[in-house]
């Protein structure tokens, strides 16, 4: 199985705009790697470079240990699913799926068998004779995936394949994709700006920001231990709360927020030793807040708005001068009205601490 490697890749547009800057990434065979980032960060460009649809100005792309930097897309042993599906409107689903194999001059029988097999796998056998224009969005999506899978490519590239579907279909297709990956065990490289998709699908996520990787790690790691403020802010919904303050070594290690609230982070596993008085950002995920059971460790907040989501409830509160959002158990809110005080405690062992200057995790 394939291993995809990108080494010191540079992509420059129109002479001077750097889209990709010295990117390196290794993808193991069978991985489901998601390239995640806001629009314009270069993730689609990177995917196109891996596919060979774009020339690169520096660095190399290897697939299966072979340098394919200058190879034609069709010679790289890859398949690709596009955001717009890019189904050939004049060909039937069958024709779309068979096109690549025909170009490779495979026998009719082989093509027929392959297409039917793949169609069965994707449950689109009954759609094979139809033109793309007559299909629904989900069906087109399947056909597009079918076109990619039919060729047994070791590497499948997905360019935001679900973003044109409605919310419900997107969830369904997400699960199907995951199942599919499990079944065929190809290497998937998947571009999305939707962090939920990334979290649910990926075995590993590469978060990109302005043409660089911010962090490459498993979804859990990314969520629990974001490497910088960008990743911390980007991953998770609602987003992580940030409280600006300074480190104080007075009685353990504390963060003193600018409005004087003290957070004891003595149990925090520092990567680098902080200094007294260092300006930091304290990152607290909304679910780390709980209704205070005792006054001792509690923080007093003012409850502004409540957003019940069913399983949990989002509370927009004011902690000192910071606006925070806490995700609480509905039962935790018993007896509290908006515009009243809500006492919260924080699971400070799981917070993140970033250096304000470099925005890197401490």
């Amino acid at each position: 199985m394939a291993q995809v490697a990108v080494k010191h890749l540079d992509k420059v547009y129109q002479g001077n705009t750097h889209i990709l800057k010295d990117l390196s990434l290794e993808i193991d065979s069978g991985e489901f790697l998601v390239l995640l980032g806001p629009s314009g960060c270069g993730k689609s460009t990177l995917l196109n470079c891996i596919a060979g649809l774009l020339d690169v100005e520096g660095g190399r792309v290897e697939i299966d240990g072979k340098d394919v930097t200058n190879s034609d897309p069709s010679e790289r042993g890859i398949a690709m699913v596009f955001q717009s599906y890019a189904l050939y409107p004049t060909k039937t689903v069958y024709g779309n799926m068979a096109f690549n194999l025909r170009m490779k001059r495979k026998s009719k029988e082989f093509i027929d068998q392959k297409v039917k097999e793949t169609a069965e796998l994707l449950q689109i056998s009954e759609l094979l004779d139809r033109k793309p224009a007559t299909l629904s969005g989900g069906q087109r999506q399947r056909a597009a995936i079918g076109r990619a899978l039919v060729r047994d490519a070791a590497v499948c590239l997905f360019d935001e394949p679900l973003s044109n579907l409605d919310a419900k279909l997107r969830t369904e297709m997400r699960i199907e994709l995951k199942k599919l990956h499990k079944k065929i065990k190809s290497t998937f490289i998947y571009v999305t700006h939707d962090q939920v998709e990334a979290m649910t699908l990926a075995t590993r996520i590469a978060v990109m920001d302005a043409g660089r990787f911010s962090q490459i790690s498993t979804p859990d790691e990314l969520y629990e231990r974001p490497a910088n403020v960008f990743v911390a802010r980007f991953i998770g919904s609602p987003a992580m709360n940030f409280i600006y303050g300074t480190i104080s070594f007075e009685s353990g290690i504390n963060v003193i927020s600018h409005d004087g609230i003290r957070f004891d982070i003595s149990s925090y596993p520092f990567l680098t030793k902080p200094q007294n008085g260092q300006r930091v950002i304290l990152g607290v995920r909304p679910e780390l807040f709980h209704r205070a059971t005792s006054d001792a460790k509690s923080y007093s907040t003012l409850l502004n708005i409540v957003e019940p989501l069913g399983a949990n409830v989002l509370c927009y509160c004011q902690l000192g001068k910071s606006d925070i959002v806490a995700s609480l158990n509905p039962s935790d809110l018993a007896g509290v009205q908006t515009d009243e005080e809500l006492k919260l405690e924080i699971d400070l062992s799981k917070v993140s601490v970033f250096d304000e200057a470099s925005s890197l995790r401490l």
């Binding site: 196109n48 596919a51 060979g52 649809l53 034609d72 897309p73 069709s74 890859i78 398949a79 690709m80 596009f82 955001q83 717009s84 599906y85 890019a86 189904l87 050939y88 409107p89 004049t90 060909k91 096109f99 690549n100 170009m103 490779k104 224009a133 076109r147 044109n164």
Partner: protein, 301 residues
């Protein structure tokens, strides 16, 4: 994601506005009929005149139906009239026109469509430069390049051959056709081209398998424009052909400009109709497609 209107139109045709009050509709209809009659008059006059005898024509009733319709004038125009000892009529010109039309149609459409496709769907280094050059070329008046072109075709030994006339037609058509094709192909989603590349379609493979099947409208529009344009051309055929390669229009002009004695208007009209028949037939067969093609945006921009 914006789907090109041209491609959309393969699927659906824009709906019409619902009709309104009958009075203005009636008035519109009357005006339309009036202009239709006006437009039809010359064709009608040509047909009836070609079927009359000269004696009848001299009576001056141009709208009257022929008393004794006769195809003699047609026979004369096709077989006997025109210049030269053999008096071969229009028929030699007909074949010249065919031999001029076919190669130039094939050359101009193939070269310009592939070039337009390269400019629209591929990142060609000199692409923008070429596009501005073509824009300028499209506006260069023919007379300014006529004389040098004659010299060039003479030098290339294709002057006064039907192939030479075809080449000149091709050259004259390339700038505008390339721009038309470029504009059209630009509306094809990039992803389709990318998908084709991943599927192993190379430059031409992608063109034939993916791009061409999406382009029946533009192809029909361009083909009709070229067929009628080349068939009806006079000046290029006159300056670059000779009697072996004169298109039908030049023969027609020879007949009408040089016949002596009483001007035989019936023969002229028959000759004119004979010359007009091929493009008219093509137009009557495919005019609907032409209208639909343009309406679907084949000639935008």
């Amino acid at each position: 994601m914006r789907i090109a209107p041209q491609i959309q139109s393969l699927i659906a045709f824009p709906n019409k506005i619902p009709p309104k009050n009958p009075i203005s509709r009636g008035a519109a209809f009357v005006v339309l009929v009036f202009f239709a009659l006006l437009f039809a008059v010359p064709l009608y006059v040509m047909i009836v005149t070609s079927l009359k005898s000269m004696d009848e024509i001299r009576l001056g009733h141009i709208f009257a139906l022929p008393v004794a319709p006769s195809f003699d004038a047609w026979d004369t125009a096709w077989n006997k009239a025109a210049s030269g000892f053999t008096n071969t009529g229009l028929k030699s010109g007909f074949w010249n026109s065919v031999f001029i039309l076919l190669p130039s149609l094939a050359m101009s459409v193939s070269i310009s469509s592939i070039c337009g496709y390269a400019l629209a769907c591929w990142n060609v280094k000199v692409g923008n430069l070429l596009l501005s050059l073509l824009l300028v070329c499209a506006f260069i008046p023919f007379p300014i390049i006529m004389y040098p072109l004659i010299k060039i075709t003479v030098f290339l030994k294709i002057y006064s051959t039907s192939f030479g006339v075809s080449v000149v037609h091709t050259i004259l058509a390339l700038p505008i056709l390339t721009m038309i094709f470029k504009n059209f192909f630009s509306s094809i989603p990039t992803d389709l081209i990318k998908a084709a590349r991943i599927d192993g379609g190379r430059f031409l493979g992608t063109f034939f398998h993916v791009v061409l099947p999406l382009s029946p409208n533009i192809m029909i529009v361009v083909a009709i424009m070229q067929i009628t344009g080349i068939w009806n051309d006079f000046l290029v055929g006159l300056t670059f052909g000779n009697v072996q390669a004169f298109p039908m229009t030049v023969n027609l002009n020879n007949i009408t400009q040089t016949q002596t004695g009483v001007r035989v208007y019936n023969v002229y009209m028959a000759a004119a109709l004979l010359t007009a028949i091929p493009p008219l037939v093509i137009y009557f067969i495919s005019g609907k497609l032409f209208i639909r093609g343009i309406t679907a945006g084949a000639l935008k921009g």
